[in-house]
């Protein structure tokens, strides 16, 4: 029981200290931030490798069941690593070609319906259940047409066609403005819980210690730079 609690406390301390080290980057880059950054990269790369190995183990199931054809993906998978070789890199093209070909085939059989037809059909319904809905449908249709016109590159867009493309450009600016609003919400949705974690009663001491460490390192770096 005590061991479990110690593990939980250690986890809180470790995660809070690393969080404060990363936030110190807002002041300036420093060794503590670089330490946290390298720990993160190592952890992420390690996790991907672990999940990859676990997936390969599951992939061995058909082979263990006697399906000899499943030797092929195992060999192709190993050939992926030849990408690091200066002379044998071309062997990695075989598994990549399989992946690309499969992806292309799966896209080609669904994109026309999902991303073209099923997008066009609701857009060309202009009459709505009330005048406001009709107005919205017309605006949506105009935005669709004008933004598509903007991407005509096969001829120079002049005159009325040029004006339509310009209108498309403004609609896209409106869309990117809307997208910016979503970006702000996502970033804040990540920042607020980070702050909540730092200020929670379990974490206050760790947060304080982390801040002191950061201040110490920044102060030392400042004095060293000044003396140089």
């Amino acid at each position: 029981m005590i061991r479990l609690e110690l593990a939980q406390v250690a986890q809180i301390w470790f995660s809070i200290l690393l969080t404060v080290f990363v936030l110190s980057f807002l002041h300036s880059e420093n060794p503590l931030y670089r330490l946290a950054e390298h720990i993160f990269i190592g952890a992420a790369a390690g996790h991907f490798a672990v999940m990859g190995i676990a997936s390969i183990k599951i992939g061995l199931t058909p082979l263990q069941a006697g399906n000899i054809l499943y030797v092929i993906p195992m060999i192709l998978g190993l050939l992926m690593f030849t990408t690091f070789s200066r002379r044998q890199y071309w062997l990695s093209r075989f598994p990549i070609a399989l992946i690309v070909g499969t992806g292309v085939g799966l896209s080609l059989r669904t994109v026309p319906q999902a991303n073209v037809l099923q997008q066009i059909s609701p857009s060309i319904t202009l009459l709505g259940k009330d005048p406001f809905a009709t107005f919205n449908n017309i605006i949506l249709f105009v935005a669709l047409l004008t933004s598509m016109t903007y991407f005509i590159f096969t001829r120079e867009l002049r005159g009325p066609l040029g004006n339509i493309a310009k209108a498309g450009r403004y609609f896209m600016l409106i869309a990117f403005g809307g997208s910016y609003g979503g970006t702000v919400l996502t970033r804040l949705a990540t920042l607020v819980p980070t702050m909540q974690t730092l200020l929670s009663p379990d974490s206050l001491i760790a947060t304080g210690l982390g801040c002191l460490l950061v201040l110490g390192v920044l102060g030392y770096s400042y004095r060293r730079a000044k003396s140089k």
Binding site: F48, M51, I58, S107, T110, A175, G182, V184, L185, M195
Partner: protein, 273 residues
């Protein structure tokens, strides 16, 4: 004699750390002194609620397709939707197409503390690599692609998997998505071939772009933490999203103030760059 700086130049010369301090205060103060601001529910959120509430049986495909960075934004939505699902008479089959998904599964189970039985009421088929190809493979052959559940049991041996062969055998597909390409992949490889009912929980950054699938291809959508806040209000399971609402509101107000002040000054100084 030095030239007088334009307003825009003075703004650009402003120490960004002053702005960071103001933002920190705008976030920290509501955390320490909650305001309890009320919220209103958006239509796509209500449609997600109705889709889950209307389940009378069958199986649900729940995709935990999240990256580690999305934890604070998506965890509340994940918890509240699964909590709601578990009140329905449905079997839930969890799966992940991102490598961080299994870690989310553990956190989800820790928070839910459900009475439902693993293997009979729900199961987790683990992480399947391969992005869109993996989603397509799974949709066409669920047991053949997953092979084993996350804990090593053969999929065929799980009672919850009885009668589930393809995506068509699911009454509803719900997916929590971090990567925008997964939004497209699910619509292309699950909805388009099988025409199965789908709702998506998406990051706010992807929402403006991916909401175009609503309502013809996806029947409902949750807009990140805002959607989670609304869903918590709808279901009554108040949690992390509701507690973050005040701070998010104040930070938004601060941003609007910043932009307004920056532009008032810009126009007042004669729009000099």
């Amino acid at each position: 004699m030095s030239e007088k700086k334009t307003y825009a130049e003075r703004l650009r010369a402003l120490d960004p750390r002053a702005i960071y301090v103001l933002l920190t205060l705008a976030v920290v103060v509501p955390i320490l002194f909650p305001l309890g601001l009320p919220i209103q529910i958006a239509a796509p959120t209500r449609d997600v609620y109705n889709a889950i509430e209307g389940l009378k049986g069958g199986a649900v495909w729940y995709g935990i397709d999240l990256l580690a960075v999305s934890l604070p934004e998506m965890m509340p939505a994940l918890v509240v939707t699964v909590r709601h699902l578990m009140t329905k008479p449905v079997k839930i089959v969890f799966v992940s197409f991102t490598s961080e998904g299994p870690m989310y599964y553990y956190k989800l189970m820790d928070q839910l503390k459900t009475q439902k039985k693993y293997g009979e009421d729900f199961a987790y088929l683990g992480f399947i690599p391969g992005e869109e190809t993996a989603i397509a493979a799974y949709a066409h052959d669920v047991p053949g692609t997953a092979k084993k559940d996350y804990f090593g049991s053969p999929v065929e041996a799980l009672p919850v998997m009885k009668g589930i062969k393809t995506a068509k055998d699911f009454a509803l597909v719900i997916t929590c998505i971090s990567l925008s390409l997964h939004n497209d992949a699910y619509v292309r490889q699950v909805f388009t071939p099988f025409n199965v009912k789908m709702v998506q929980v998406m990051l706010s950054v992807n929402y403006p772009e991916k909401i175009l699938y609503y309502p013809h291809q996806i029947v409902g959508a949750l807009n990140g933490i805002k959607g989670a806040t609304e869903y918590e209000q709808l279901t009554g399971y108040l949690g992390a999203a509701t507690s973050a609402n005040d701070a998010i509101t104040m930070a938004h107000v601060l941003l609007i103030l910043f932009v307004v002040v920056a532009n008032i000054g810009y126009f007042a100084s004669g729009r000099k760059r």
